[in-house]
Amino acid sequence: MSENQAILKLDQLNKHFPVRGGLLKRVQNHVYAVNDVSIEVDEGDSVGIVGESGCGKSTLGRTILRLEEPTSGEIWFKGENITDLSERKLKKFKHDMQMIFQDPFASLDPRQRIGDTIEEPFVIYTNLSARERKEKAIKLLREVGLDETHYYKYPHQFSGGQRQRIGIARAIALNPEMIVCDEAVSALDVSVQAQVIKLLKELQDEYDLTYLFISHDLGVVRHFCNKVLVMYLGNMVEWAPVDELFDNPIHPYTEALLSAIPRPVPGNKREKIQLRGDLPSPSDPPTGCPFHTRCPIATEVCRQVKPEWREVTPNHFVACHERG
């Protein structure tokens, strides 16, 4: 089974942020950002991670890259446990895991030429000469649809879409195997967003990339991903292949999320499932099923017992007492 080996495996991954307060700055509480997340990602997958803001999807992405230290649980990357690796040993893996951020304005140094920004990974990780680095940087620029003239420019001279292309060029510079895209296309206009999605797909075909695609836009996820993880308050809610999830959602939260998306079809008066209220605070999560406060079908059991993670049909996992 070397063909379809899991590139990434998460086992009961937790990330809790301490909340300090009071005179002595003691830990008073925790924000439970990621709770017991266990999934397996195969090579070449595009995994969508969806949920409302504050559901822990970004924290999950950052924890996988070890930009945040996990509280407990294990992260396996290419068959090796990287949860407790030292900075030095981790460097080897950082080659293979890259990240693209949401805000292309904030993630580029305004005082650095684009060429230098793209060359930076080569400076850190390789022994290439200045000329070789420049050659490579220009090649990368071409690859993401920019050209040589952009090498000497500064970030403010680019539009949002172009800046996101620069972010992508930098992320693929070291030929990574996995890229975490944190809301990578959310800040872009639709016409530009479609361009960037197309580019990401082309790069995936060319370099056999695996994507973790964190997004709140379910339309984009349906187009881009082949598997989807739905999260709510840091917990896994549902995990299934993309068509299965969109066509046969099981969890009431997934159903509500899907029904809330405005469809670009006028006059289409669907029965919408309206969720009551707002997301509860992740520092004071409800007991039992985290979703029971807003769930239309919650029962007494849901209020007290946390539902188990079950495989309802092959490859379709869900955490719900009532369904499946």
Partner: protein, 332 residues
């Protein structure tokens, strides 16, 4: 046809900048009737927000309405003094902005901010305004409104803040509500609550609504009529079914093609190549020329006039020339 509530004709708005005058809105005309929702769509920088700020006369200092007329209920807004405009704003015309955190004042309680328009425009006493405020918060679906009146904006969630904004906007029963990307910063589940709320209130009070958005899904959900803007110009306008089912302008078609559809996995995403032209650029022909796959020599040199593709369907594109037998639109 009934008298339009808001009637904007040939609006031109420009900004004085270090690079000279930039025209952000070019000869835009539209109208809104009572109980009607007009959606203005387009990508960032197309002038949709500036159009709405021009109507409200809330342009930044360096912005100026160069020409055109804005009639509200038969009254010419461009002739009004600042004081007269202030009487209308928040009273007859209200606006909701995208980011409620920046639109609400962080140092005053929700109660103070909701009482303010009631005291100024309706002349209510503090006590009466307080009561009315609680009612308004209840109306927009805020739980335990009495408690909320004494809270500060940072104590509320994003969706809740947007509800407060709507409650303040509706405080004086405005005839016209301008909503500038009211749900863009919100999650889909909250977005759908807010859109339903606006639609419900529109029906109840027979308001005219101008909704500015870039989300075609939102447009399909709420609009009666749609106006598509590109680079400061109105390029197409029609009722919502026509825009989605028979779009005429290549840009509108491109926009619809680039929206991923959740229900249709086969939908082929087709991006529009290139990006918006800079406002600095002086373009004599069609402003969409260098991104348009159907562009001809004529498009490069001559700016297309408005053609009427069918009743009430206005398109600004030379491609319409043949199909409409050069019947120029009487609509302007």
């Amino acid at each position: 046809m009934t008298e339009a509530l808001l009637d904007v004709k040939n609006l031109v708005t420009s900004f004085r900048t270090a690079d000279g005058d930039l025209t952000a809105v070019r000869e835009v005309s539209f109208s809104v009737e009572q109980g009607e929702t007009l959606c203005i769509v387009g990508e960032s920088g197309c002038g949709k927000s500036i159009t709405s700020l021009s109507v409200m006369q809330l342009l930044p200092k360096n912005g100026k309405i160069k020409s055109g007329s804005i009639q509200f209920n038969g009254q010419e807004l461009t002739d009004l003094t600042d004081e007269e405009m202030r009487q209308l704003r928040g009273n007859e015309i209200a606006i909701i902005f995208q980011e409620p955190m920046t639109a609400l004042n962080p140092v005053f309680t929700i109660g103070f901010q909701i009482r303010e328009p009631l005291k100024i425009h309706e002349g209510l006493s503090k006590k009466a305004a307080h009561q009315k405020g609680i009612e308004l918060l209840k109306q927009v679906g805020i739980p335990s409104p009495e408690k909320r009146m004494n809270q500060y904006p940072h104590e509320l969630s994003g969706g809740m803040r947007q509800r407060v904004m709507i409650a303040i906007a509706l405080a004086c029963n405005p005839k016209l509500l301008i909503a500038d990307e009211p749900t863009t910063a919100l999650d889909v589940t909250i977005q759908s609550q807010i859109l339903d709320l606006i639609d419900d209130l529109k029906k109840r009070f027979n308001m005219g609504v101008v909704m500015i958005t870039h989300d075609m899904g939102v447009v399909a959900e709420v609009a009666d009529r749609v106006m598509v803007m590109y680079s400061g110009e109105k390029i197409e306008e029609a009722d919502v079914e026509t825009i989605f089912n028979h779009p005429q302008h290549p840009y509108t078609k491109g926009l619809l093609q680039s929206v991923p559809n959740v229900d249709d996995k086969e939908h082929h995403l087709e991006p529009i190549p290139g990006s918006l032209p800079s406002l600095k650029e002086n373009i004599s022909g069609c402003r969409f020329y260098d991104r348009c796959e159907f562009a001809t020599e004529k498009c490069r040199t001559q700016s297309p006039p408005k053609f009427e593709a069918s009743e009430g369907h206005v398109v600004r594109c030379w491609l319409q020339e043949e199909s409409t037998d050069e019947r120029k639109s009487s609509y302007s």
